[in-house]
């Protein structure tokens, strides 16, 4: 039972973390919320689902990430760049893109939930007394690898330094010769590609539907808020917390309430910590 709970919790956490760090990245760089991030998850899952029969599962994940990178460029152009400094408009524009993507997906893949089967689903290993499918372990492992990769990128690469510079102060970064538009585009591209990985990885564990992105994103939001907006480490911590709590709730309370519990946790946290568990930055000086 315990193994089951931990494995399920980690799967959820890994997923939420991948989606949430994408959101955090975009928010940090542009101060905007990418409401279409959930749809990137969904598109990623479907692209991988479509490509798997032709190229195999693992290459299909790469294809999904590449497709979503292109989607990221489109998103940045349509929903973010026109609305710099008008956060609410950008938010609504990404909601508009969200509607467009869901309906495109329904036109292409239909509205019926589909089973995304991979060969890894059928192999299982025994941990303690329970059998866990390799697919599930793959989800956890890949999430960790991708998150570590992102962490390295943000911390040590040239691009990462630019991300941090723009997050700190876009004007100063621009004055120092950083192309803020390119950095903003890269943040959406990376965020979208990570979401694709989340979709392609978790798709085989659940069913895939064009509506799947919504719930995924709401939970990622909860993780971000718990962790503190714009803070990658906090976000991962928040994702772990939400994933584990949901996994516990699914077993001990009821599946129907798992979302309620995540958001209840969120609301209670905000009552006591109005700026998240890991506050973003100090109060402004008057």
């Amino acid at each position: 039972m315990l193994t089951q709970i931990i494995v399920n919790g980690l799967i959820l956490a890994g997923n939420y973390a991948l989606v949430a760090v994408g959101l955090t990245l975009v928010f940090g760089v542009m101060r905007m919320v990418n409401f279409a991030e959930g749809q990137s998850v969904m598109i990623g899952a479907f692209v991988a689902f479509t490509a798997t029969p032709y190229v195999g599962y693992l290459p299909a994940i790469a294809i999904a990430m590449a497709t979503n990178a292109v989607l990221g460029i489109i998103l940045e152009r349509t929903a973010f760049r026109p609305f710099r400094g008008m956060e609410l408009n950008g938010l609504i524009a990404s909601m508009g893109m969200s509607i467009i993507l869901i309906n495109l997906a329904e036109l292409i893949w239909g509205t019926v939930p589909q089973t995304f089967d991979t060969s890894f689903n059928n192999i299982s290993v025994t941990i303690g007394t329970v059998g866990v499918s390799v697919q599930r372990l793959l989800v956890i492992a890949s999430s960790v690898v991708l998150l570590l990769g992102l962490w390295w990128l943000v911390q040590y690469s040239n691009l990462g330094r630019q991300f941090r510079a723009v997050s700190e102060d876009p004007e100063v970064a621009g004055a120092m010769g950083i192309n803020t538009n390119a950095v903003a585009r890269m943040s959406v591209v990376l965020g979208s590609a990570l979401a694709a990985a989340a979709g392609a990885l978790s798709g085989p564990v659940n069913l895939i539907t064009p509506e799947m992105g919504q719930a995924e994103m709401l939970n990622a939001f909860a993780a971000i808020i718990l962790g503190g907006f714009g803070n990658v480490n906090g976000t991962i911590f928040g994702a772990l917390l939400i994933g584990m709590v949901q996994s516990l709730a699914a077993v001990y309370v009821s599946n129907a309430y798992s979302n309620s519990i995540a958001f209840g946790l969120l609301v209670v946290t905000l009552i006591f910590f109005p700026r998240g568990l890991v506050p973003e930055r100090m109060e402004e000086n008057v």
């Binding site: 928010f27 919320v33 409401f35 349509t78 929903a79 026109p82 609305f83 008008m86 609410l88 408009n89 938010l91 609504i92 524009a93 909601m95 508009g96 893109m97 969200s98 509607i99 467009i100 869901i102 309906n103 495109l104 329904e106 036109l107 919504q214 709401l218 939001f221 909860a222 971000i224 808020i225 907006f229 129907a256 309430y257 979302n259 309620s260 958001f263 209840g264 969120l266 609301v267 905000l270 009552i271 109005p274 700026r275 998240g276 008057v286």
Partner: protein, 331 residues
């Protein structure tokens, strides 16, 4: 545009709406009624986000509370008027209570916190099967006993009246200035003696009241409710209506709820639902690209602002200042 022509235009707009029952069939009249009912929840965003600068992703929660309170009570046999009163009271109190923690949250924390509230209400309506009948839907809600045309004029009067009241509040009253001061700079607002927390609580309660009234009307008009009507996606749809209308413009709000309700219906000619919604999404994007201030911004640009002329008033023999007679204050 002069003040007179602006009034003529407003009158014309209302007049055209008022003749709708003679112009369109029952199907479209039904759509118009729904659009006008939805304008109330868009007004609730006008008050909260437009005037006071607080973002909410959970308005559907208040609509749901209002609708289900009315619905459940009316099914239990409570008189519609009393049920409606409860349907207004419950969301207002919920808004006040949510405001207590939410007034301390800023920006996106507030948005996601209210989203949390919305999700919780949505799930509650779904899971409290004993009370709400959950996903099976709540049937047999009693109405006000209006026919469709009466309904139309009733909600038209309500929507237009509220629109006028909100425009007046926003542009002409002291309260409008108080609310907007909080929106633009909380620190200088409090330095000017505005109790920011109290103002935010007021805004939350008023907004929840308006959203709740939308719910009561929906329940009474449709006489059938499902939790699906109040999920988070609905909150986002209301926000979209609000932004397309120009957040903070009540006139924009009513026009945008009419357009964004009518257009998807008109697009039924395209056949498939997906294509319809695709066009809808594109439309929202186009409005944002080309009208960043929304419909309200366009209206504002057409109107020439009123300009006052101030001439110094002769100072009437002011009493010499005495340290003991400083401006009277409650000290």
């Amino acid at each position: 545009m002069s003040e007179t022509s602006a009034w003529i235009l407003r009158a014309l707009f209302v007049a055209v709406l008022a003749t709708l029952p003679f112009l369109v069939n029952g199907y479209w009249l039904n759509m118009a009624i729904l659009a006008l009912i939805y304008s109330l929840v868009v007004y609730s965003i006008t008050v909260l986000t437009g005037f006071t600068g607080l973002l909410s992703f959970g308005q559907a929660g208040f609509v749901g509370l209002g609708g289900y309170t009315y619905g459940v009570l009316s099914v239990k046999g409570v008189d519609p008027a009393a049920a409606a009163a409860w349907g207004l009271l419950v969301p207002t109190v919920a808004g006040f209570l949510l405001g207590l923690p939410a007034a301390r949250l800023r920006g996106h924390y507030l948005a996601i916190g209210t989203l949390g509230f919305g999700v919780l209400v949505g799930q509650m309506l779904n899971n409290m099967v004993d009370v709400t009948r959950g996903p099976m839907g709540l049937l047999g809600i009693k109405s006000f006993g209006f026919d469709r045309v009466t309904w139309f004029y009733f909600v038209l009067a309500l929507a237009v009246g509220l629109c006028a009241a909100l425009e007046y509040l926003d542009r002409r009253t002291f309260l409008g200035v108080v609310l907007k001061s909080v929106k633009y700079d909380e620190i200088s607002a409090s330095a000017s003696g505005i109790g920011v927390f109290a103002v935010k609580l007021l805004a939350f309660s008023a907004s929840a009241f308006l959203a709740g009234s939308c719910g009561v009307l929906l329940a009474a008009y449709m006489r059938f409710l499902t939790p699906d009507l109040f999920i988070s996606a609905e909150s986002f749809r209301y926000l979209m209506m609000s932004v397309v209308g120009g957040v903070g413009s009540a006139s924009g709000a009513i026009i945008s709820s009419l357009i964004l309700t009518a257009v998807p219906e008109a697009l039924r000619a395209f056949g498939e639902t997906n294509v319809r919604l695709l066009v809808y999404g594109l439309m929202v994007l186009f409005v944002l690209w080309f009208l960043p201030g929304g419909i309200g911004g366009l209206i504002d640009r057409l109107m020439t602002p009123v300009r006052r002329r101030i001439t110094p008033r002769p100072r009437v023999a002011e009493p010499a200042p005495q340290p003991t007679s400083l401006p009277g204050r409650a000290s």
